[in-house]
């Protein structure tokens, strides 16, 4: 319990340890801790930002979905319209075609009729001559009565 040189020994040791701690212990530990604090703060901020971004993205996705839906229904409508239009056009075209076919058939029929009529006309002249010959009992000069016969045939 005597006060002696130990006092100064302890003081010297105290100074040495404090200096060591100040130089080699405190700064690196504190620097590492501060750096970690910053890192954690950054991480938390990044997480917040990511959350926010996610929310925004979700909102955007919903919006896009809505847009897509309206667009799709628009396309469907247009397609329906176009389909009915096509059907109408097809109908019209069919009618026109039908008319055309009918008309050409009619003209064919008319032609046939005319040809048959011409034939008949030719034959009528011969028949008439033959009938007249029979009636008159003599041959009729065809040349001489050509006008008469033609007139008759054209009346047919």
């Amino acid at each position: 319990m005597n006060i002696n040189l130990t006092l100064f020994g302890q003081m010297a040791a105290f100074v040495c340890f404090v200096l060591f701690c100040m130089k080699y212990v405190w700064p690196p530990i504190l620097a590492a801790m501060q750096e970690r604090t910053e890192k954690i703060a950054d991480g938390l901020a990044a997480a917040d930002r990511a959350n926010h971004d996610l929310e925004l993205a979700q909102e955007k996705a919903v919006e896009r979905l809505k847009e897509a839906k309206t667009e799709a229904s628009g396309i469907v409508d247009a397609a329906n319209k176009r389909a009915s239009q096509i059907v109408d056009e097809a109908k019209e075209a069919a009618v026109v075609e039908g008319d055309r076919v009918k008309a050409s058939a009619q003209s064919d029929i008319d032609q046939e009729i005319n040809r048959a009529r011409e034939q008949l006309r030719g034959q009528v002249a011969t028949l008439a001559l033959a009938g007249a010959e029979k009636v008159l009992g003599a041959a009729i000069d065809r040349e001489a009565h050509a006008d008469l016969v033609d007139k008759l045939a054209s009346e047919l």
Partner: protein, 292 residues
């Protein structure tokens, strides 16, 4: 132990005697009967009478060795952590050290408002070092002295903070820092603080000076003696409990319970005293920095 069958008081005194190396004065008769030659001689003391005869020219080898050894353990532990300190996820011992550092840092921040790079490492050193020195108190009082007794070392106090030289040595170190910063920060204001407080009149300068100097000197003494007193008393109780074990088999269980109870209570005391020493160091240095 010193004798074959020591009495209780011999036992206690033996436990409270430091291993001392010092200079015995010429003509001193040692315990073994030999007489020191004229001019004195540096020897290991055999017993309390010799170490007190050495006066100031002596050194407590055990206190110094344990205190420096514990200081080196502190440096080594914290340096190894400082080397490993990374920004990644800390684990195990790293966490403990960082917890202590964080705790000291926040205490310093709360108490010390100046800008001084010395205060925080100083506080950390004080806290951990004093804690480690106090921690020696929890080692059974007879264990290490007995083991060293087999090796031929007959005195050993393993708790450095029960040696007033150790606690006052640190307190005086803090005191010198206080004076240094007072003069550095306040300059002439420090003189004014000593002479013009609390009575602001030139007539009262001697009274003021006396009161302020007493107050100033009381700081390191109270700082050192508080730690010494607490740990000395704690060590004393451990020694008394240890002495109780030798009082007969009927005392075994009560002594064991006392030992356990006091040890558990002492865990609180050793941390608290380390903390108080650290906080007062910070407070005193903070006062040295503050200009009134």
């Amino acid at each position: 132990m010193a004798g074959e069958n020591p009495t209780i008081s011999e036992y206690i005194i033996h436990h409270l005697t430091n291993l001392t190396y010092g200079k015995l004065p010429g003509g001193f008769e040692r315990e073994d009967g030999s007489i020191i030659a004229d001019g004195g001689a540096w020897v290991m003391a055999h017993g309390g009478a010799e170490s007190s005869a050495m006066g100031f020219n002596a050194i407590h080898v055990d206190s110094m060795a344990w205190s420096i050894g514990l200081g080196l353990i502190f440096c080594w532990l914290f340096r190894s952590v400082a080397k490993k300190a990374e920004t990644g996820v800390p684990s195990g011992f790293l966490n403990l050290v960082e917890m202590v550092v964080e705790f000291v840092d926040s205490t310093v921040r709360d108490t010390f408002h100046g800008n001084n790079k010395l205060i925080a490492p100083l506080a950390l050193t004080v806290f951990v070092w004093v804690f480690l020195m106090n921690l020696m108190d929890l080692i059974p009082v007879d264990l290490i002295p007995t083991l060293l007794g087999f090796a031929g070392v007959h005195f050993q106090k393993i708790v450095p903070s029960t040696d007033p030289n150790i606690t006052l040595g640190m307190a005086v170190g803090v005191f010198i820092l206080m004076l240094y910063y007072s003069i550095k920060v306040k300059g002439f204001g420090f003189v004014k603080e000593l002479t013009m407080n609390p009575f602001n009149h030139w007539m009262f300068i001697p009274v003021n000076l006396f009161m302020e100097v007493v107050g100033l000197l009381a700081k390191p003494f109270s700082l050192g003696l508080r730690l010494f007193g607490n740990l000395y008393a704690g060590e004393m109780i451990f020694i008394l409990i240890a002495a109780l074990f030798s009082a007969g088999w009927i005392w075994l269980i009560p002594a064991g319970l006392l030992q356990l109870g006091w040890s558990i209570f002492h865990i609180l005391v050793i941390v608290l005293q380390a903390f108080i020493f650290m906080v007062l160091t910070i407070v005193y240095l903070s006062m040295a920095h503050e200009d009134h």
